[in-house]
């Protein structure tokens, strides 16, 4: 049990969250249910018009795909960095982090330069004689995936890396001494221990993706609309009630889905700290 004095240290942060986040969010939620009088009309509108449900499903699919692509690319990257001598790791981590310091807007515009009709890729393909005319790369769902993965990938690398450094390397060595092949030692010892980082990274990226709207608006096509775009749209039209309802649906479904992920994956996850204890 924490002593009272220790809990007190949390007070400033708790007050900040309460005043700057919880209370305003509560107002938004109240707006969804009480404008004009108490009614669930805004939620009814969401569930009765196919356009909102299809945008909602699209948001879930895009977020899950982006998080999974980040996992497939980011986990091996983290593994590579951990396998390097400790003196070289800071430089590699620095290179991973550099893109995070650039604004999302700048990076998205950079992708427009790369993917455009007269962009770098199309220029190179035509110069090499591989294509006759420009390929349509911009304003496609593919462009949305590429840009979002590039923006979010560092988060996956960092999360996986930090858990991997906590894994006691002697555990893997012990497995090898007991006769496990390199692959088996990785699969049976290292992978389960690093799973926590992988799932945390996946979850964080999933959450962040659920709220994206600038990237799909700038590089996506007319069907690449996420719930975030809808909320921006409704706020712009001063429909706070409906925007609030959309925000509630986004928040609740994100929490429920993450709860499910934790519940199912909880069985397969061992914390490195547990292994040491």
């Amino acid at each position: 049990m924490m002593r009272f004095g220790e809990r007190l240290t949390l007070l400033p942060a708790a007050l900040l969250v309460l005043a700057m986040f919880a209370v305003p969010v509560a107002f938004v939620f109240a707006e969804a249910i009480f404008t004009p009088g108490f009614s669930l009309a805004h939620f009814d509108r969401f569930f009765s018009r196919p356009v909102y449900l299809s945008v909602y499903l699209n948001t879930l699919v895009v977020s899950a795909v982006v998080a999974s692509i980040c996992l497939v690319i980011g986990y091996p990257m983290a593994l590579f960095i951990v396998s390097q001598p400790p003196a070289r790791r800071p430089l590699l981590l620095f290179l991973v982090l550099v893109p995070l310091w650039m604004s999302i807007l700048v990076r998205t515009y950079a992708w427009m330069v790369v993917l455009g009709r007269e962009g770098i890729i199309n220029g190179a393909l035509q110069w090499a004689g591989l294509t006759d005319g420009p390929l349509t790369l911009m304003f496609t769902t593919g462009a949305v995936f590429v840009a979002m993965v590039q923006i979010l990938l560092p988060i996956m690398v960092i999360t996986c890396y930090s858990i991997m450094t906590e894994i006691d390397p002697t555990l893997v060595r012990a497995a090898r001494i007991c006769g496990a092949s390199g692959l088996a030692a990785f699969r049976k010892v290292f992978l389960p221990l690093s799973m926590e980082g992988a799932i945390t990274g996946w979850s964080v990226i999933f959450i962040l993706s659920m709220g994206f709207f600038i990237v799909p608006a700038l590089v996506g096509g007319r069907r690449d609309v996420l719930l975030g775009n809808m909320i921006v749209n409704q706020v712009g039209q001063a429909n706070w009630g409906f925007a609030g309802a959309l925000a509630i649906i986004l928040l609740v479904s994100t929490i429920v889905l993450l709860g499910l992920v934790r519940l199912v994956m909880g069985r397969f996850v061992y914390s490195p700290r547990e292994a040491q204890a």
Partner: protein
């Protein structure tokens, strides 16, 4: 920390409110909610600095987006932190219907009666005008041809090439109806019927497969034209003038363009109503200053005598120039404030379909 006694702390806090009172009493300051960027820089030179020199009232110009939500929040809190705001047509119509604007005393804001009646509304003035027009890359047009009407934009056989439109139901329905043969003056009569809306969406069905991009920010069509990403797109007129000056071969089509006033209004509950009216007079009621403004940003006001002070070369590029004015229609802010919600929903469905 020894030096800081409880008494000295008390003394310090006790004097604070005095300073605050003194500060508000002597400095007269107006907060102006504009769009920021280059426009704010021009306004600072042409309006804000000279206004302060003349009246001693300082203008605190802030860059804002999404002014509707901000105003709603201020009105709910009962405390406007802006005094004067620049408003788009739909923002103005919403604010006016909701009663968020002070009535303007035009004897203060237009003492010499130089503004035409349509620029002097009960609770707002027309600050500037801009048009959504069709912009075309002349080097991507068929030899010796140019689009001259919305029907041409729809004609993908005669004018092949990637197109872009704004991701906005407003104006696109109007353009579609004009392309379908409705006269610009009749557009809103047709649109106020169910069949008229169906007719507009049917016409948009024809062009949908040929539209590569649906832009949402005003900088996007400029960028796409400059990069050759699209050959033909709707855009805001001032940015196309700018793009041509930057050396990109683009031409503006005024025929069937959508003229939109931008309004300036005073927020309900402000402490500085008279000062705000003086500022509005300074901004929109002086032909010479308005001409200078129009020469710099291409968004002219409506004050009488403006074009007398303007280089005809520059004047020809402007939305309220008599030559350009004739073939355009004025966006009906009230129609859109009333119908935006339902039509936007249908637009979203149509886009995803």
């Amino acid at each position: 920390m020894k030096g800081l006694t409880r008494r000295s702390l008390l003394a310090a806090t006790a004097t604070l409110p005095l300073f605050a009172v003194a500060a508000t009493a002597q400095s007269s300051e107006l907060t102006y909610a504009g769009s920021g960027g280059g426009l704010a820089q021009v306004m600072d030179i042409l309006f804000d600095k000279p206004f302060e020199a003349e009246t001693g009232i300082r203008i605190r110009a802030i860059a804002t987006t999404d002014r509707i939500s901000a105003m709603r929040a201020m009105m709910q809190a009962g405390n406007p932190i802006w005094d004067v705001a620049e408003l788009t047509p739909v923002e103005y119509a919403t604010a006016s219907i909701e009663g968020w604007l002070e009535p303007i005393d035009w004897s203060v804001a237009d003492p010499d009666n130089l503004l035409p009646e349509e620029a002097k509304l009960e609770d707002a003035g027309v600050a500037a005008t801009f048009s959504t027009i069709l912009a075309q890359r002349t080097d991507m047009l068929p030899e010796g041809q140019q689009m001259a009407s919305w029907a041409d934009f729809w004609d993908v056989e005669a004018f092949p090439g990637p197109r872009a439109l704004q991701d906005s139901v407003m104006e696109n329905l109007e353009f579609a109806l004009i392309a379908d043969g409705v006269s610009p003056r009749e557009v809103y009569n047709v649109l106020s019927t169910e069949e008229g809306v169906d007719r507009a969406f049917d016409k948009l069905d024809e062009i949908k497969p040929h539209v590569a991009a649906w832009w949402s920010a005003g900088a996007q069509p400029v960028q796409m034209l400059a990069d050759g990403e699209v050959a033909f797109t709707t855009a805001w007129n001032g940015r196309i003038t700018q793009l041509r000056q930057d050396g990109i071969p683009v031409e503006t089509m005024w025929n069937g363009g959508a003229l939109k006033p931008s309004y300036v209004g005073i927020l309900k509950g402000t402490q500085h109503k008279t000062e705000a009216e003086q500022y509005i007079h300074f901004m929109i009621g002086d032909p010479e200053r308005s001409a200078e403004f129009a020469a710099m940003v291409a968004y002219p006001g409506m004050v009488q005598g403006l074009y007398d002070h303007l280089d005809p070369e520059v004047g020809r590029e402007l939305p309220t120039h008599p030559d350009n004015m004739a073939s355009q229609f004025v966006v009906d802010a009230v129609f859109w404030a009333r119908n935006m919600d339902a039509l936007q929903e249908r637009w979203q469905e149509w886009l995803l379909d």
